[in-house]
């Protein structure tokens, strides 16, 4: 089912994105931690791959990657999946 597949892809994308963000915040107060920087780079690469995959299947997540019909397509983030067709 398309909705479940989208939810699954979004979940792995968000998980990788969260790791990047958490390490990014940590590096604000530990800017010289090279180990944390390496971990961030690992997750950032994962995130980029998952993002490309998601956008190819379900459309743009940022205004850089699509406009018009593709950008306007439902669901929007607050839509509940059942009524998002």
């Amino acid at each position: 089912m398309m909705i479940r597949e989208r939810e699954k892809c979004l979940k792995s994308l968000s998980a990788a994105q969260f790791m990047v963000w958490e390490l990014h915040l940590y590096l604000d107060t530990h800017p010289n931690d090279t180990n944390a920087m390496l971990r961030l780079k690992k997750y950032a690469a994962q995130y980029q791959a998952l993002l490309a995959d998601f956008e190819a299947k379900f459309g743009p997540l940022t205004p850089h990657s699509g406009s018009g019909v593709a950008w306007l397509k439902n669901p929007w983030p607050w839509d509940i999946e059942e009524c998002a067709k």
Partner: protein, 204 residues
């Protein structure tokens, strides 16, 4: 600048609408310790921050808070879908409904509309960081109280995520405060405003 990303930081998918829960949780949208106040507080304070680590920290946490505001909006919206007039009257949601129907408006659970008096931007590094540490704890307590009042796991999961973020932000602000005091003359941490008085930095 800011640009939109068309996703939530953490998913919100609430199967069962519940206007009573919406009326409680909207406090984290526009209430005294809510996400709107948090984002405005940090994104305003950052302009007078003298140290790069703190400019970065306030920009990043302030930005994340905007994402949390969006999550709370999504929770309130999903909790008030497809309501019957009977449910609206019975739940006590009628007092909100009369002014906003099912639109999302920034106010506290008590009905008090959002006000900038919920936050401070004092132009003093030490003062502002203490304000932020307190703000994170106040938000954490509010999320704890929401978790005492709400049983539905669909609602509790994103609320638990937001509660955890308050704790991480508290940790980061604590580290920010340490970074700031490390740069100051330790005889005078609280006698000067490091954003305004230039002579209070540690002598090299």
């Amino acid at each position: 600048m800011f640009q939109y990303e068309k996703k939530l930081q953490y998913p919100v998918n609430i199967k069962n609408p519940n206007p009573k829960y919406a009326q409680i949780i909207i406090s984290q949208y526009g209430g005294p310790d809510g996400e709107l106040g948090a984002s405005l507080r940090y994104l305003s304070q950052r302009f007078s921050m003298p140290y790069a680590e703190l400019k970065g920290l306030l920009t990043d946490i302030g930005t994340e808070e905007l994402g949390h505001l969006e999550m709370i909006g999504a929770i309130v919206y999903q909790l008030t879908r497809n309501l019957s007039m009977e449910e609206i009257k019975r739940s006590g949601y009628d007092t909100y409904f009369v002014d906003h129907t099912t639109g999302v408006y920034p106010l506290a659970a008590s009905g008090m509309p959002f006000t900038a008096t919920y936050l401070q931007s004092k132009g003093d590094v030490i003062t502002d960081l203490h304000e932020n540490l307190a703000a994170e704890q106040k938000a954490r307590t509010t999320y704890d109280n929401i978790l005492r009042l709400v049983d539905d796991p669909d609602v509790r999961e994103p609320i638990k995520f937001l509660r955890e973020r308050e704790i991480v932000h508290y940790q980061r602000f604590g580290e920010g405060l340490r970074l700031a005091t490390d740069k100051l003359n330790e005889k005078n941490f609280y006698a000067f405003n490091p954003s305004f008085d230039k002579h209070c930095n540690k002598r090299k």
